[in-house]
């Protein structure tokens, strides 16, 4: 038994050692987070410097499987609106959160305030509609859809402001949906857009819960 364990340690990247040495290069890091905490650790490692290795983050977000037991403290559904539940504040470098979409709930069209946004579907399924930036901010016209895709359980999508804007919605009228979001760096304000005219307005984003505890909003 011990021998098998030893073999495991030498054959895969030894995460414990690496954490001690604070190595920045993601090539030495595991790409297989086996738990939510491990995922968080790997993200901290990946962002030890100010460089963001998008491919690596994408890989670990994809490979992370997780289970309901880990997500339970953050799974807080509300009948009137989707909820944002902070998992880890990333010492200001990133925000990891779980969004809970009850039946039929969706977001406005929004941008990402110059941040990277990774979104993984944990449970249920989601429709992501990507929109082009409005052409002319002085002219009112219908916003153009770039793509409309379904995000199934386990799948990850990525967006930033250069790619475009998006709306995210739970299309199911019977089942809930939960998504894991990683924002690098975190943001507390973004712009929301009126689909029919392209008019925009600032929005302040808040958390329904942090670390599993409900926040006192507004």
């Amino acid at each position: 038994m011990t021998e098998a364990l030893v073999n495991t340690y030498t054959n895969t990247n030894d995460i414990q050692l690496i954490r001690m040495e604070y190595v920045d290069k993601t090539a030495h890091l595991s790409t297989q987070p086996n738990s939510l905490n491990e995922l968080i650790d790997l993200i901290y490692q990946a962002f030890a410097t100010n460089d963001v290795d998008i491919d690596y983050v994408s890989t670990i977000m994809n490979n992370y499987k997780g289970n309901m037991k880990e997500w339970l403290p953050y799974m807080k559904f509300q009948p009137n609106k989707y909820t944002r539940n902070l998992v880890n504040g990333g010492n200001g470098k990133f925000n990891l959160m779980i969004l809970c979409w009850a039946e039929g709930q969706g977001s406005s069209i929004h941008d990402h305030t110059n941040s990277h946004c990774f979104m993984k579907c944990l449970q249920g399924s989601l429709i992501e509609t990507k929109y082009a930036w409005p052409n002319d901010e002085n002219k009112e016209e219908q916003m153009r859809i770039i793509s409309r895709t379904e995000l199934k359980e386990g799948q990850v999508t990525y967006i930033n402001d250069t790619i475009g804007l998006h709306r995210v919605e739970n299309p199911s009228h019977t089942d809930t949906c939960a998504t894991l979001h990683l924002y690098v760096p975190p943001y507390s304000q973004c712009n929301i857009f009126d689909e029919r005219t392209g008019r925009t307005n600032e929005a302040h984003v808040t958390f329904y819960s942090k670390g599993g505890q409900l926040t006192k909003n507004e």
Partner: protein
């Protein structure tokens, strides 16, 4: 022996209380279930996610010393076609979770469970005949989830369940809503998304406890005026419908969330709405009302008195005119919550009455005219999340 299992995502109905799930742990011989005297008690039978197609009632009885101890049945995510009528012996049941099965029929004996508060039946094969008439006797039921079934009608039994708080009927095939909602005065959440509903009846205005109303993914073009009486309504989902404009009454609501995406909402001002030329009767009626000429059933026939009383006020706040059957539909763009222009449908007395009033009044008397929202009213919608 039933063991408590952690719920998976698909039967998650909100905040999950960990304290409700315990392993079986019997050590008492008492006939009556005095659960509070035990530090660990089992009031749940969990047979969820077991791929069972038939529930063996003897096994159920064997799994517990006293059926009256059981408050919670988790039977979701199996392949059950039916449930045995002997379920009536579990008289303490408050929650039955039967979602994600293959139920085509339900035993009428379910209606004998006088403590039943929560009944989850989503994603089964229930049609209109599958719900027994006796269900209306479940007067203490608070939450019913019939989403993802094969209902073509709004179940009539629900109108008799006066303690209902949450009704979920998403993803069925309901085309018509009966005008019987006045009994549902305690309902806070009404989910009707994903059906084929073409019309919302007036009686919806009687649902004074309503906080969340979801009408998304239907075939709606208008809402009844009575919607403005839902003073507690906070969340209104109208996305994926056929709204080209909205009733101005929506402004009166104290909404925090309003979803309107995927409706053919008018973007630019539309001038092509028809106007039926008023009859002589209507023109006379308008003149009488405008000049406040007194009338009663001694001077004119009673039917005419009723006609004159049915006059509706022109929605142009500056206009004191009225109309009867002949009105002009106008779309006015309203700066909703200071963010987005929404097209609101107005009924005006004449096509000319779009900005300048047709009928000016110098009298200081003020009629109860509907007002296009003022700055004060739009301020209160600043927090509305529109999408």
């Amino acid at each position: 022996m039933a063991t408590a299992a952690l719920p998976t995502g698909d039967d998650y109905e909100g905040d999950y209380d960990f304290d409700d799930d315990f392993d079986d742990n019997f050590d008492d011989d008492e006939e009556d279930c005095i659960c509070s005297s035990q530090t660990i008690f089992n009031d749940t039978i969990d047979y969820s996610h077991r791929n069972i197609s038939k529930l063996d009632i003897n096994e159920l009885f064997a799994s517990t010393k006293n059926p009256n101890c059981i408050k919670n049945f988790q039977l979701n995510s199996n392949m059950l076609l039916s449930i045995p009528s002997e379920i009536e012996h579990f008289q303490s049941l408050t929650t039955i979770e039967l979602s994600n099965n293959q139920l085509v029929q339900l035993p009428s004996e379910l209606s004998l469970l006088k403590n039943l508060k929560n009944l989850y039946l989503k994603n089964n094969f229930l049609d209109d005949l599958a719900l027994p008439k006796e269900f209306e006797q479940l007067k203490q039921l608070e939450v019913i989830n019939l989403g993802g079934n094969r209902l073509k009608q709004f179940p009539y039994q629900l109108f008799q369940m006066f303690n209902l708080k949450e009704i979920y009927l998403g993803s069925n095939q309901i085309t018509f809503l009966p005008d019987l909602f006045h009994t549902l005065i305690k309902v806070e959440v009404l989910y009707l998304g994903g059906n084929q509903i073409g019309n919302v009846p007036d009686s919806i205005g009687y649902m004074r406890s309503l906080v969340v109303l979801n009408l998304s993914g239907n075939r709606l073009r208008t809402l009844p005026r009575s919607i403005s009486r839902l003073t507690r309504l906070k969340s209104l989902s109208l996305h994926n419908n056929q709204f080209s404009a909205l009733p101005p009454d929506i402004i009166r609501l104290d909404l925090q969330e309003l979803s309107l995406r995927n409706n053919p909402l008018v973007v630019r001002f539309v001038r092509d709405l028809t106007y039926d030329v008023p009859t002589l009767k209507e023109l006379t009626g308008r003149t009488i009302k405008f000049h406040k000429i007194p009338y009663d059933d001694r001077s004119i026939p009673k039917s005419l008195v009723e006609y004159l009383n049915s006059a509706k006020s022109c929605l142009n706040p500056k206009c004191k005119g009225v109309y009867f059957e002949s009105y002009h539909k106008n779309i006015k763009f309203v700066d909703f919550c200071g963010k987005f222009y929404l097209p609101l449908l107005q009924f005006l007395c004449t096509p000319a009455c779009t900005s300048a009033p047709t009928f000016q009044m110098t009298s200081s008397e003020s009629d109860d005219t509907e007002n296009i929202p003022t700055k004060d009213m739009t301020n209160k919608f600043k927090k509305v999340l529109l999408g």
